[in-house]
């Protein structure tokens, strides 16, 4: 008996080891299901503060390319202004710009302050939070493509689950067709993904554009996702298997937009 107590006294650090491991394991598990607890909020504020400091130094050197990208985007947006269109008498055309159309999405601009692409679950940290009106489950896009879905929000920051998350599905379609498929990231390369569930009788060509379907509550329709680079469909399968290249380079994320679906609540109620 004394031998046993002596043993435990000498090896008592094993209990500490087990305790610390159990605690960290609990944190990992809790991390995947918790939402918006004080703990995470505090961690995000510290993490966000640190990285926005780093980002400030880095972004100074990127000002030129950032300006160019924004100017380009401005040009595209200007094309869409009412003043860029002439009035037409054709009833079908005019209805496109009719007041009958109600605004469905509004956009909150944000800057990426930290971003990962090398893990199997990648996260993006944004410098906009609750105080800017960001909420959980909002979509995040850039002018080039989709980025992800907001997972957690603290007062000044938000974390986004990147499209680069293993087995993550984005509802998508080939532009020009109405068949809905899904884009799945397989966890290896930051610029490649698979597209599945498109029926195999549809003819697909390399270079075809892939865009969001608009069937998810978060992403608006028609946001670019990527282009088809390889058709890997076999003859027996009923569905295409396509390799696509993302249109957004996820290593160079900077300015993003958080999409607020004005009818999100209403739509969610309906889907219950």
């Amino acid at each position: 008996m004394r031998g046993l107590t002596n043993f435990f006294r000498r090896q008592s650090y094993i209990f500490l080891f087990v305790f610390l491991e159990a605690f960290s394991f609990y944190l990992i598990i809790a991390n995947s299901s918790f939402q918006g607890t004080v703990f995470h909020s505090v961690i995000m504020e510290i993490n966000g503060g640190f990285f926005s400091m780093m980002k400030d130094t880095r972004s100074f050197f990127l000002l030129r390319s950032t300006n160019e990208a924004l100017a380009k985007e401005n040009a595209i947006l200007k094309e869409k202004l009412a003043s860029s269109h002439f009035k037409t008498l054709h009833p079908l055309d005019s209805s496109l710009y009719d007041t009958v159309y109600r605004q469905m999405y509004s956009y909150i601009p944000a800057t990426v302050i930290s971003n990962s692409t090398d893990n199997r679950e990648n996260y993006v940290l944004l410098d906009a939070g609750k105080s800017s009106g960001v909420e959980r489950d909002m979509a995040v896009i850039t002018s080039n493509g989709v980025v992800g879905i907001v997972k957690r929000v603290s007062p000044h920051f938000a974390t986004v689950i990147s499209v680069l998350t293993e087995n993550n599905r984005v509802s998508a379609k080939l532009s020009g067709h109405d068949y809905i498929g899904a884009v799945i990231w397989n966890g290896f390369r930051y610029d490649e993904a698979l597209m599945v569930d498109i029926p195999s009788h549809i003819s697909v060509h390399i270079g075809d554009k892939v865009e969001t379907s608009g069937y998810s509550l978060a992403f608006p329709a028609g946001i670019p996702v990527g282009t088809v680079t390889e058709i890997m469909t076999d003859n027996v399968s009923d569905f295409h298997k396509l390799k696509i290249k993302f249109s957004q380079n996820y290593k160079q994320l900077d300015k993003v937009y958080i999409v607020k679906n004005i009818y999100a609540k209403e739509l969610k109620e309906l889907r219950k």
Partner: protein
């Protein structure tokens, strides 16, 4: 002595969080340098303190990496491996350790650390070959970097003889 270790702790945590976690290497390779802190803690450090410091260093890197628990778990395991290895290999002084011993010491601690990181990160056995590749590659990279750092910053600690 204590001050030196504290300073090393913050420098390594900063380098890990601000530089090594930010750069991307081909094939999604990762380098974990901050466990060098656990490796270099004095020989006399009691086990409970080693484990607690391992946990603390992991928690700091966790915050910088924006995750919860992943690095804390792995760094505690690394500290535990250190305790076991020092007992098993009957090392009785870290200041005058032989190169061969230091190499294997580093290797085993890196191996358990990266194994924990990548298995927890994947959290499944799908694509296990890929997980295994990540574990081995990052173990080798981290070991090389740590041995290299040790040769540069603390050359006197190690006997060159095998």
């Amino acid at each position: 002595m204590i001050l030196r270790n504290i300073l090393r702790f913050f420098i390594l945590a900063f380098v890990q969080g601000a530089i090594l976690s930010q750069i991307s290497l081909p094939f999604n390779l990762h380098i974990f340098l901050y466990i060098y802190f656990i490796l270099l803690l004095p020989y006399q450090t009691p086990p409970w303190l080693l484990l607690s410091l391992g946990f603390a260093s992991g928690a700091v890197v966790d915050i910088l990496a924006g995750v919860a628990g992943l690095f804390a778990f792995s760094a505690t395991l690394a500290a535990f491996t250190r305790i076991i290895f020092i007992r098993a290999a009957k090392i009785n002084d870290l200041k005058n350790i032989r190169f061969r011993h230091f190499f294997f010491y580093t290797f085993w601690v890196c191996l358990t650390h990266s194994a924990a990181i990548f298995m927890l990160d994947a959290f499944s056995f799908s694509n296990f070959g890929y997980t295994l590749f990540l574990i081995i590659s990052s173990t080798i990279l981290s070991t090389i970097l740590i041995v290299f750092c040790n040769a540069v910053f603390a050359p006197k600690n190690i006997h060159e003889t095998f």
